[in-house]
């Protein structure tokens, strides 16, 4: 009898588009996203009769960089195979991929485990293959439903990275994916911001039961969501005494659920055989020429050493290439002076605000962030005002309005701390106490919460400009006066 509370076991198959200039087997440009359908095509990627694939060496170099960074072994000889199946987006009715002789095998990627330490996720293999085209569904139920095919994507180089079933929760799966993305970006072989550049199939089981394959996951968040849904679904089935069927399910991103595939799809026999139009790959010796850049783990260590970042901040900041670069630019003028404030303001506050807005980091100039940090460091504004300035900055940049400098925002909104000018604060305190007799009474009854409440009220009245230390001192003085 399977245990509904049994261990979750997850393995991933991750497909990433390699960010080469041209396609895997022809010279067509891969930069198709802003152009019309079927504009980046030629006889080869259209699979026209008689056209033959010619391997883009750069794609193999990129894949080998990844293999090296992930500690995989390059096989002495690998080969391309044909995966045969009918689908209208598949120009040749077979996909050129790698089957029993992949480019690389073994290897691992270290992630943060659920227990907090580092954990090695073993990899099975990495292979190279071509992306199929894309179907675009037109019309709706009432008006003639039909599909059009766009072959711009056909032939874009992909790597498929297959992990061992070493992850133990949906969270770990997401961390694996984030770490993988960071590694690929550090290697400059992948652009995660390109739509559809990553696709994931996940195998998930509860220990003692059959595994289920979840296909069609296209986002980083999606992996965690899809797997969390599956864990609940599978546990519930086991609890009700039902058996988990070994099956393929599709993730429906919009609804956050998985759905059983049609049984026909599970009967695929891909009839693999070696691609006769390409010669076997003997590229192991290329490894010598591949020099790896600094990778996320090394950079994380450096951030802790060089900038004094905490482990968590270092992890967050180096978890995305652009973020790490951004941080280093922000603090470049005064590493020791700016790093402590900058790391928390970027890793915690800025990231939070960007996520809330679903906004890209690229819209924020590092120089503006440096100015903000400098204002905070000089004590010109309070932390609360800092958040307000940041929000104004982000709003302006997101809406494409004229972007003000933090200094200009502070000036315009009159947010500078009212240090020394106790008059305004004293007035605000008196007003706050007078307006809230209940709080005064609570204070008299010895309830400390009342002070916090009044601090909040005063902050509101001074619009956050009051220095918190000074405010506290003056408020307690005022309360004590009224006690008598």
């Amino acid at each position: 009898m399977a245990d509904p509370d049994g261990q979750v076991i997850v393995g991933l198959e991750v497909h990433c588009q390699l960010d080469t200039k041209s396609k895997l087997f022809c010279g067509c440009s891969t930069d198709y996203r802003s152009d019309g359908p079927n504009t980046h095509v030629c006889p080869i990627c259209l699979g026209l009769p008689g056209a033959m694939p010619a391997l883009n060496k750069r794609a193999i170099e990129y894949a080998m960089k990844v293999a090296k960074a992930l500690n995989c072994e390059i096989l002495n000889e690998s080969e391309f195979s044909r995966k045969n199946y009918f689908y209208p987006d598949l120009d040749k009715a077979y996909q050129i991929t790698q089957y029993d002789k992949p480019l690389a095998e073994g290897g691992y990627l270290e992630i943060e485990s659920d227990e907090g330490g580092e954990k090695k996720i073993r990899l099975t293999r990495i292979h190279v293959e071509e992306d199929p085209g894309r179907l675009v569904h037109m019309g709706n139920v009432e008006r003639g439903k039909y599909s059009l095919v766009d072959y711009n994507r056909a032939g874009i180089p992909l790597i498929e990275i297959v992990s061992e079933p070493d992850m133990r929760s949906p969270k770990e799966a997401r961390r694996f994916l984030n770490k993988l993305r960071a590694t690929l970006e550090y290697l400059s072989v992948f652009d995660s911001e390109k739509e559809g550049s990553l696709r994931v199939d996940a195998n998930i089981s509860i220990k003692g039961s059959e595994r289920v394959e979840v296909k069609n996951i296209t986002s980083y968040k999606g992996v965690e969501k899809a797997l969390t849904f599956e864990v609940t679904r599978q546990r519930n089935l086991i609890r009700r005494g039902q058996k988990i069927e070994r099956e393929t399910r599709h993730y429906l991103e919009a609804r956050g659920v998985t759905q059983a595939g049609r049984s026909k799809e599970q009967e695929h026999d891909y009839r693999y055989f070696p691609e006769p139009d390409l010669r076997p790959l003997r590229v192991k010796s290329w490894l010598d020429g591949i020099v790896l850049p600094e990778l996320p783990d090394a950079r994380r260590e450096r951030f802790m050493k060089e900038y004094g970042c905490s482990l968590n901040h270092a992890r967050t900041l180096t978890g995305e290439l652009k973020l790490a670069n951004f941080f280093e630019k922000v603090v470049a003028s005064d590493k020791a002076g700016l790093s402590p404030l900058a790391s928390t303001w970027i890793a915690d506050t800025l990231i939070g605000e960007l996520n809330y807005r679903d906004m890209s980091l690229e819209k924020v100039e590092p120089a503006a962030m440096t100015s903000l940090v400098l204002l905070l460091k000089a004590g010109t504004i309070t932390d609360k005002s800092g958040v307000e300035v940041l929000r104004v900055m982000l709003d302006q940049r997101q809406k494409g309005e004229a972007a003000e400098t933090p200094d200009a925002i502070v000036k315009r909104l009159n947010l500078a701390k009212t240090v020394g000018d106790t008059g305004a604060i004293t007035k605000a305190i008196d007003d706050a106490i007078n307006e809230n007799p209940k709080a005064l009474e609570d204070y008299r009854n010895g309830e400390a919460k009342a002070i916090n409440f009044l601090v909040g009220q005063v902050m509101k009245k001074t619009r956050g400009k009051a220095d918190p230390g000074e405010l506290n001192r003056l408020l307690i003085e005022a309360l004590k006066k009224r006690e008598a």
Binding site: G47, L48, P49, G50, M52, A54, R82, V149, R271, Y272
Partner: protein, 432 residues
Amino acid sequence: MSGEISFSPNDKYNAFLTTCKKAPHGSGKLAGVAVAIKDNISTKDIETTCASKILKGYVPPYNAHVIDLLKAEGAAIVGKTNMDEFGMGTTTENSGFGPTLNPCDTTRVPGGSSGGSAAAIAGGMVTMALGSDTGGSIRCPAAFCGIVGLKPSYGRVSRYGLIAYSNSLEQIGPMGKTVADVSKLMGVIAGYDRHDSTSRDKPYNHTPNAEIKGLKIGIPQEFFGEGVNPQVADVVRKAIGRLEELGATTVPCSIPSMEYALAAYYVTCTCEASSNLARFDGVRYGPAPDWRKSWHDAYQEVRSEAFGTEVRRRIMLGTFALSSGYYGRYYSKAQVARENVRADFNRIFADVDVIAGPTMPTVAFKLKEKSDPLSMYLADILTVPANLAGIPSISVPCGTSEGMPVGLQIMGRMFEDERVVDVAYAYEQEVN
């Protein structure tokens, strides 16, 4: 030098599927020479059908590499020749657009699958043509029609633009009235092409040389054994005798792997074909299916209607042989058998310079004579070994039997196409 030639042949043999009434040409080694092209070689702006209804109306937007090379040397592409659908056949009867007749006897087949190209030459409509040879498709019609045809070493001529039937076996090759024509055409089409990863940097710059004194010729017993018509064998033996008179010596030899050659050949080519032809699904090629049906049903409808019987048979055989659980029993076994054929040839070529024998076991069949597929497949027994091994092989006319031409086949070491051309040339010069 450049200009245009008019081409309006009286095509009594149904050799052409398309003719170009006004064929432009440039200057160069083939300036103004009319060249016919087998209809599985892509020609920009000229319909290319592989003699299949499923490609009716398909006009390639690009040229095969060999076509670019021909044009660069001034050749005039005058038309596209008939063939067995997708190259699958030995008689050109499997064309979706009617059979080609043998100009030597119009009650007989011209051989196949490059039967249209052979008939165009034998019928005097052109002096040279391109064919393709997967298991004998250049040499068989050359033998049956009494012309010269060369299957080059695998990799010597770019396949880019050749509509694939069996990629690992086939080569585009020259066909002509004379060995000199074939050699000249080979000189234009051979060489490395970056678009074909299996092509090799082995250009052909050769003028045929009839001097063969001291040449050692291997005579495999299998080429004169069971299944080979005794009269045809006699004609070929006499021809080899002429080569001996010219100073060559003969050495008996044996190719034991031939026992499995035909099986290895048919497994390999049907497997590859089943994949190559899968793209013809009615979405992009062929008559539009009934789209109210599901994809798979629509595909099935188009493919069962537009493909001929032999093509469907081979697709099904290949699909079966590649299926899960059968791959090891068929495809990978066939590759082992191929290695054995290669090994046999290597062993023999350590002692001899070329191997000679009949091209075909018989003369040209009567139309509709070969009705069951198996007896048709058996006719390829003498030509498929060269494709399995990748080695060059030429067929040169060497007399007649029953009044029909007989072909002498000369096979050489890998990339020694020049040598088989020389031997064929020596024979041709001797008898003329």
